[in-house]
């Protein structure tokens, strides 16, 4: 066998091995999610069947119907949880963006003493484990009457999101050349005008993706919400998932249906911003 042929075969084999590995990796990434989606359409009998039913005989919307059917028929007040989640996530995101924009701009444009230390300090507040923080927050909120309210959770989520939005927005403003704003100021803008008319439009996409990141964090948060909410009036969807579990049994089908409802908004939003998100994290970090 001549050496060229051998080389070509080796290259082919290598290529094939790569494709197979990639295929397996992608399957592992996708199958758990698809399994949840599939089971949300299957009747409970089939989910619990032993031996397992691999090819679904019947797919229906029963779990979704039960979920929206309200309390009383084994239903969980999903719509209420959905609205709670929506109100809390959107409000806290808007506030976090405003606060984060001010902070991010300060880090990107001003030089001051102890900048690095303040930055790390802000980041560290994010590193405090949710459970550890939830204990004292629970005490404070119980005293101030903020427990089990939307406002209480909104304030907490703003604080949770601010460090990260500052990081992202800082990165985006850094990519806007300083000269742009300076030129605007020479042309007679105030610094405030220069910011809104020149710098903000350039960094807008980045700010939006920071917002979506903040939204997703609030949307998915569980450790704090599970302690700071008690009733259907303030429970968010991640906490609501637990309504499907009782002492000994779990309503898997219903839970899968709620899970699908939780993922859909997250899915759409993530796809919208994926490009900006990656750029923001890496530039903010590398060119720090």
């Amino acid at each position: 066998m001549d050496i060229n042929l051998r080389h070509r075969i080796r290259a082919r084999l290598l290529k094939a091995a790569q494709m197979v590995t990639l295929f397996i990796a992608m399957s592992i990434i996708c199958i758990p999610g698809l399994w949840v989606v599939l089971n949300s359409f299957r009747p409970t009998v089939e989910i619990m069947a032993k031996p397992p039913v691999w090819i679904p005989n019947e797919l229906n919307l029963d779990h979704y119907r039960a979920m929206f059917g309200g309390v009383g028929q084994g239903g969980v007040p999903v719509l209420q949880y959905f609205t709670n989640s929506l109100i809390i996530s959107i409000t806290s995101t808007l506030i976090a963006i405003l606060v984060g924009m001010a902070g991010g701009y300060a880090f990107a444009r001003y030089r001051f003493k102890g900048k690095g230390a303040i930055f790390i300090g802000l980041m560290l507040t994010r590193a405090v484990p949710g459970v550890a923080l939830s204990l004292p927050l629970f005490i404070v909120m119980a005293r101030t009457g903020l427990i089990d309210t939307h406002i209480g959770l909104i304030i907490v989520y703003v604080a949770m999101n601010v460090p990260f939005t500052i990081w992202l927005i800082d990165g985006f403003f850094r990519q806007v050349p300083r000269e742009l704003a300076e030129a605007a100021e020479i042309d007679g803008c105030t610094r405030w005008q220069a910011f809104w008319k020149v710098e903000f439009p350039v960094a807008r996409a980045g700010v939006a993706s920071a917002g979506i990141f903040a939204f997703l964090t609030s949307w998915n948060e569980y450790a704090l919400a599970s302690q700071l909410t008690r009733s259907t009036f303030s429970k968010t969807m991640p906490v609501g998932l637990r309504d499907f579990t009782s002492e000994f049994t779990i309503n898997w089908g219903g839970m899968c249906a709620l899970a699908v409802l939780m993922i859909i908004p997250a899915l759409i939003l993530t796809f919208l911003v994926q490009k900006h998100l990656i750029a923001g994290l890496t530039f903010g970090g590398v060119k720090g």
Partner: protein, 298 residues
């Protein structure tokens, strides 16, 4: 009287500082104080009794606490390393694909959208010994005819938890490392090829050093919320059965809310906070070092 003029940067940072002090700093000071008292939720007057470092001594002499602490460090070390290696591998593989790369990248982000609670439930379902996907598959394919107790056996439960944790977070590493791969300049790679480097040498001496800052960004981001694993563990096993998968966080939650011993729980909470801060500062330091090495510092 002239008005006190604060520097602009401070005014801009003020909202962030205020909200973070109100929600994080002040509660943490309160919890620091209460960790020196025998505070119980059910008896508010216990908040005013000072007992010194009793709670800390109790935690430090408690074998269960150290077991949970060790398990937490073990989980973090294994999970972060595996995530980094798998993420690197995945990014390198996807980088080589020439057709349909955008689609693959989108698929890769799939697990990032899942709430950790959801991941917990999802894998609780998949690893369920009776109706779970894994056991069903193993039994149907004839590899095993007994139900494997994935979430009951100590080692298997730890494995399942790490699997769930790795499943969610590998994509964070893969995505960021892929961004790094795109940013590598072509010239050094071509020069290496001309000089006759083997693929491994090229990777080891050119690609990897360029990727290091990206790897550390990913580690820094992950270290900011390593405690997210709490959600997964609490749902999958809640530290059980019989404390076999107890992590420091589930132990804090149980002591604080179920046993209502807030003071003691806060003392353990502080130890966990220092653990988190240690991880974060470590990775931010590494990030800075990697940046300066590439001449991007400043």
């Amino acid at each position: 009287m002239s008005r006190l003029k604060l520097p602009q940067w401070f005014v801009l940072l003020l909202p962030a500082i205020i909200i973070l002090s109100a929600v994080v700093l002040i509660p943490l000071l309160l919890s620091l104080y209460s960790s020196f008292t025998p505070y119980r939720l059910t008896r508010p007057e216990t908040l005013y009794k000072w007992i010194g470092t009793f709670n800390y001594e109790k935690a430090i002499t408690n074998a269960n606490f150290w077991a949970a602490f060790g398990r937490t460090v073990l989980l973090l070390t294994i999970a972060l390393n595996v995530e980094m290696l798998l993420g690197l591998g995945l990014a390198l593989l996807v980088n080589r694909v020439t057709w349909g790369q955008r689609g693959l990248r989108t698929l890769m982000m799939f697990p990032m959208m899942f709430s950790p609670v959801l991941v917990g439930f999802q894998f609780k379902f998949i690893f369920n010994d009776n109706v779970g996907l894994v056991n069903n598959a193993l039994q149907s394919l004839g590899f095993s005819d007994v139900a494997i107790p994935w979430l009951v056996d100590a080692n298997l439960a730890m494995f399942s938890i790490i699997f769930a944790e790795v499943w969610t977070s590998t994509s964070v590493f893969a995505i960021l490392i892929l961004a790094g791969l795109f940013a590598i300049p072509r010239d050094p790679l071509e020069a290496a090829k001309v000089d006759g480097c083997t693929p491994w040498q090229t990777f080891r001496h050119i690609t990897l050093p360029y990727l290091m800052p990206f790897i550390y960004i990913a580690l820094a981001i992950r270290s900011l919320d390593v405690a997210r694993a709490y959600d997964i563990v609490q749902i999958m096993t809640n530290g059980g059965p019989a404390r076999r998968t107890e992590l420091i966080w589930t132990m804090i939650g149980r002591t604080g809310y179920v046993d209502a011993k807030m003071g003691y729980a806060n003392a353990m909470g502080y130890i966990s906070i220092f653990l988190a801060i240690f991880f974060t500062i470590y990775f931010f330091k590494k990030l800075n070092a990697a940046r300066t090495e590439l001449g991007m510092g400043g």
